[in-house]
């Protein structure tokens, strides 16, 4: 059951990575690309269309992670502690903190993208999206390393 949840958690995270990375790059890449070029087509997708999908995927991924965390603490973490993988475990602690802090940002992000106002701080949307992208990427990589720890350095 836990393995199935981890696989689904990873698949949802991969979808989230694609959506949030696309939105971030579309936000930061200058709008000077040729219309037919790769970046031109990339930029032509409206960033706002990703807002709801990213919130839904982040919520599903975080909820799945919350459930997967229990068997990790009981079955996996003691094994890693006994084998001295302290760096990985503390990186995993940081991932937990990042995910928790990131989980409070979707409402503000949604407001920024869906109901922008003239008096919004400049680049607030881009900054929030970038923070979320950093959170998702770092969590994905740390989770991946932890999941495959027996394959690293052994």
């Amino acid at each position: 059951m836990a393995t199935t949840l981890v696989i689904i958690h990873g698949l949802v995270a991969a979808a989230l990575l694609g959506a949030v990375t696309h939105q971030t790059l579309a936000t930061w890449v200058p709008n000077r690309a040729q219309p037919g070029s790769f970046f031109g087509r990339f930029r032509s997708v409206p960033s706002t269309s990703f807002a709801n999908a990213i919130i839904a995927l982040y919520a599903v991924s975080a909820i799945l992670g919350t459930f997967v965390y229990l068997p990790f603490r009981v079955d996996v973490r003691p094994v890693l502690e006994n084998s001295g993988h302290w760096q990985t475990l503390h990186l995993f602690d940081i991932k937990e903190h990042f995910v928790a802090i990131g989980s409070a940002l979707p409402p503000a992000r949604w407001v920024c993208w869906r109901q922008p106002r003239a008096d919004d701080p400049p680049r607030a949307c881009a900054a929030l999206t970038s923070i979320l992208t950093f959170t998702v990427w770092s969590s994905f990589l740390i989770g991946h390393v932890t999941n495959n720890i027996k394959g690293f350095g052994s």
Partner: protein, 119 residues
Amino acid sequence: MTSSNSFRRFAFAFGTAFAVVYVLALVQNLALITVYPTLGIVVLGMQHAQDAAPSMGGVPAMHWYGWTATAALGAFMLGLIAAFSPERLTRWIWMGWVWVAPVSAMIACVCLTMPWLHL
């Protein structure tokens, strides 16, 4: 339009306050709940591993859920206060805190973990 403005204030206050309260909860060990996964129980407040089943030498205790719950509750209350406050009172608050606070909180979390990280 009014409800939209209220939700906007709630969303910005919630995102900002969550980051601040989370770090405070982490530093001060203010976990709303403690989960003992091997026993399958949840207890209120911050409990330590040795507090449960001491004859067995203690069992694993999880505090992350408690820190998150503390931050969510605190941020929700502050968000509600912001949502129902008159706009003239909240207008002077810089909205950029909504991204400065999470970035600062993430740096603080890394610094708090660094003594044990030894990279």
